[in-house]
């Protein structure tokens, strides 16, 4: 396999996975259990992504500057500070901690 083969096969696989979900007829999603579950799926995937991005480093867990940054972000969201302020604030917290340690 060449690098180009890997890139094209990988890209087609990821694009096809997106298409699979769109090919399910919308009527099949009207059932309350399916609707409730597909809603909860988004929340679960987001929560999982947050944890993996905060603690994960490849296949291991690391506590580093990301955790205080995300904690500050959570505090700011609780105070109803807008998203557009919170995200850079989290980056600044992480960057400062890394600069100082």
């Amino acid at each position: 396999m060449t690098t180009w083969n890997i890139i094209l096969l990988g890209s087609i696989a990821v694009l096809a996975l997106k298409a699979v979900g769109w090919l399910v007829p919308p009527k099949a999603l009207d059932h309350p259990v399916v609707a409730r579950t597909s809603d909860l799926l988004t929340a679960a995937l987001l929560a999982a992504l947050i944890c993996v991005q905060t603690f994960g480093s490849g296949q291991s867990l690391h506590l580093d500057a990301r955790l205080p940054a995300v904690a500050v972000a959570a505090g700011l969201y609780a105070l109803r500070v807008p998203f557009i302020v919170v995200v850079p604030a989290a980056a600044v917290v992480a960057a400062l901690i890394r600069l100082l340690t």
Partner: protein, 247 residues
């Protein structure tokens, strides 16, 4: 073509779309830089962003190639695909928001990613959901691709993006997208359980699988309606004719 003026929530949806889009696009520069550092050329980095267009999958693919080379091609493709499976779930959710029409759904397919789904589903009004999806998806697509090109060309000049805290910004951005959903007890329970499962499984499973295991949590809670109330409406109706009345 006259359009009705946008409501406050529709403007808010467009604003979050831009904010999320710009933040994500900035992260694209690190992808471009890392891709060339992993041995890809500028075109290969750009094709990944244009066609694969799913950050987690792209980082996984170049990560495996960087450590294992071409011999690890099968693993690289499998990791990218595993991280892309969640997009299928997002498509199921978006399907009801975007509605019918072949070309519209075809365009939406490529824009089915974490950020566009999160902004769309954080809105309660159907039109605001659609605006959130398209604005986020298009801003991220354009920005991510331009920044991939910039990162691939600039390469090592930028240095490690972690020094700028951009990895923490990504987590904070997803937290902001999750935050408005945490009103219902069932969603809170699912989010906590999913976070625990994904964290605990990270050292044990291949990258991509812990997040998918968290999806299983949602399926169990959803099917059994654990922590749900009997009178809970599942969700704002997909494409209702009249707007919901917010209390």
């Amino acid at each position: 073509m006259a359009r009705p003026p946008r409501t406050a929530q529709e403007r808010a949806a467009a604003r979050s779309g831009w904010a999320v889009g710009v933040a994500t696009a900035l992260y694209g520069i690190s992808f471009g830089a890392l891709a060339t550092a992993s041995g890809l050329d500028v075109w290969q980095a750009c094709v990944l962003s244009l066609v694969m267009f799913s950050g987690g999958s792209q980082f996984a693919l170049i990560g495996v190639l960087a450590s294992g080379g071409i011999a690890a091609g099968g693993t690289a493709i499998a990791s990218a695909a595993l991280l892309g499976v969640r997009n299928s779930f997002y498509a199921l959710r978006l399907s009801r928001i975007i509605g019918p029409g072949f070309w519209r759904r075809a365009a939406a397919t490529q824009l089915t990613i974490d950020e566009s789904t999160a902004v769309a589903t954080a809105q309660t009004e159907p039109r605001a959901q659609r605006i959130g999806f398209w604005v986020t998806g298009l801003v991220v697509y354009l920005g991510w691709n331009l920044m991939t090109l910039a990162g691939a060309l600039l390469g090592n000049l930028i240095g490690d993006v972690k020094a700028y805290g951009l990895d923490a910004a990504a987590a904070a951005a997803f937290l902001g997208l999750l935050w408005p959903r945490l009103k219902a007890r069932q969603t809170q329970a699912v989010a906590v359980a999913a976070g625990f499962v994904a964290t605990l499984l990270t050292p044990v499973l291949m990258p991509g699988l812990p997040v998918l295991a968290a999806a299983a949590v949602a399926i169990v809670f959803g099917v059994l309606n654990l922590f749900g109330r009997g009178d809970d409406r599942p969700h704002p109706d997909p494409i209702p004719m009249e707007r919901e009345v917010e209390p």
